[in-house]
């Protein structure tokens, strides 16, 4: 049998045509919208950051770490991308990584590509964008508080992607929700801890070396004295 490396990467054959098509439409809509609203200034440090972050997420996704019961898990990266780039650029970066994995490495299906971009990229990135943005507004702007928020949100992003995967498998009549959801959430609650550790370490490293590159960070932590912060993303109406 062909070995299929999965994590949350759904191969072809797990999803019904209808579910794959709906997820595909949603993923294309999210990527198209992201292309419209995402804004990178030509001289910005974020131009190479898009490439570097995509490369880092691709590399880190190859590093399966062992968890209990003969199972492994790997980093996903949607929260890291959203915290550094904002949610819409994060959707684009995740779409690049997942598309290359499917076509060049046979990792994740082709008809399931939309579902994978949705589960591992768009949902996590948008959730992280919403939650981190909201929590930064109400919580104290200390480095430790911010990193705690990043850790917590990255764990939730994995769980939301996992739940979405289980729902898609259930609607496809591949496995009943009651069978897959507890098992999937159980395994991924542990994988999510790995996600939180890696995401928090990476954000902490960027906060130390280039705080201005943490798009969703509190202004006090990300702005150098005397430097005017750049707007992160143009609003949808612009």
């Amino acid at each position: 049998m062909i070995h299929l490396p999965l994590a949350l990467h759904i191969p072809d054959g797990f999803l019904s045509g209808g579910v794959a098509a709906v997820a595909g439409v949603l993923a294309i809509a999210a990527v198209a919208y992201a292309l419209r609203v995402a804004n990178v200034e030509p001289d910005e440090a974020r131009v190479p950051l898009l490439g570097v972050l995509a490369a880092f997420i691709f590399a880190a996704q190859m590093l399966n770490f062992p968890i209990v019961g003969g199972t492994s898990g790997h980093f996903l990266g949607a929260t890291l991308a959203a915290v550094l780039l904002g949610p819409w650029l994060a959707c684009l970066v995740m779409a690049v990584v997942i598309t290359v994995q499917a076509f060049a490495f046979a990792d994740g299906g082709i008809s399931a590509l939309g579902a994978n971009i949705l589960n591992m990229g768009v949902l996590g990135a948008l959730l992280a964008g919403l939650l981190v943005g909201a929590l930064v507004k109400v919580l104290p702007h200390a480095r430790s508080v911010f990193l705690g928020v990043v850790a917590t949100v990255s764990w939730f992003a994995v769980m939301v992607g996992t739940a979405a995967t289980s729902f898609e498998l259930a609607i496809s009549d591949t496995v009943p929700l009651g069978t897959s959801l507890p098992a999937m959430l159980g395994v991924h609650s542990l994988i999510g801890i790995g996600e939180a550790v890696i995401t928090t370490a990476a954000v902490a490293a960027v906060l130390v070396s280039r705080p201005d590159l943490v798009a969703l960070g509190p202004p006090q932590l990300t702005t150098e004295p005397g430097r005017v912060p750049r707007p992160v993303e143009r609003s949808a109406s612009a």
Binding site: P11, D12, R36, E41, L50, A55, L63, S72, A106
Partner: protein, 109 residues
């Protein structure tokens, strides 16, 4: 200890390439989350490769023709990371041009 963009990019890319090349061959070979659940709940066999993927350049993260599995994985990681970097970097130029109000031909409206 703010570093210049150039240094930041070089360091971060070196970390990514190093992880993918030197660490990935030693990653856990155990089935991961969905694969484990699919095996336990007996739907793993429904998974299959798309016909396009039969011709994947580097199927299953193993560079073809390299017999040492760790070398094959490391090589796949090295090439994949640089390829994704290049595509991600290119993406920035697509987004940048759009932000000036002149969408490139063929871009989604």
């Amino acid at each position: 200890m703010n570093v210049s963009t150039r240094i930041f990019v070089i360091l971060a890319l070196a970390v990514a390439v190093g992880l993918a090349t030197a660490v990935s061959p030693f990653a856990s070979p155990n089935p991961d989350g969905l694969e484990k659940v699919a095996g336990d709940k007996q739907f793993l066999d429904e998974g299959k490769l798309h016909s396009i993927q039969e011709d994947s350049p580097i199927p299953d993260y193993a560079f073809p023709g390299v017999h040492d599995q760790r070398v094959a994985t490391g090589l796949a990681g090295f090439i994949g990371t640089l390829a994704v970097f290049a595509i991600g970097y290119g993406l920035a130029f697509v987004v940048r041009r759009q932000s000036r109000g002149a969408p490139p031909p063929g871009a989604p409206a």
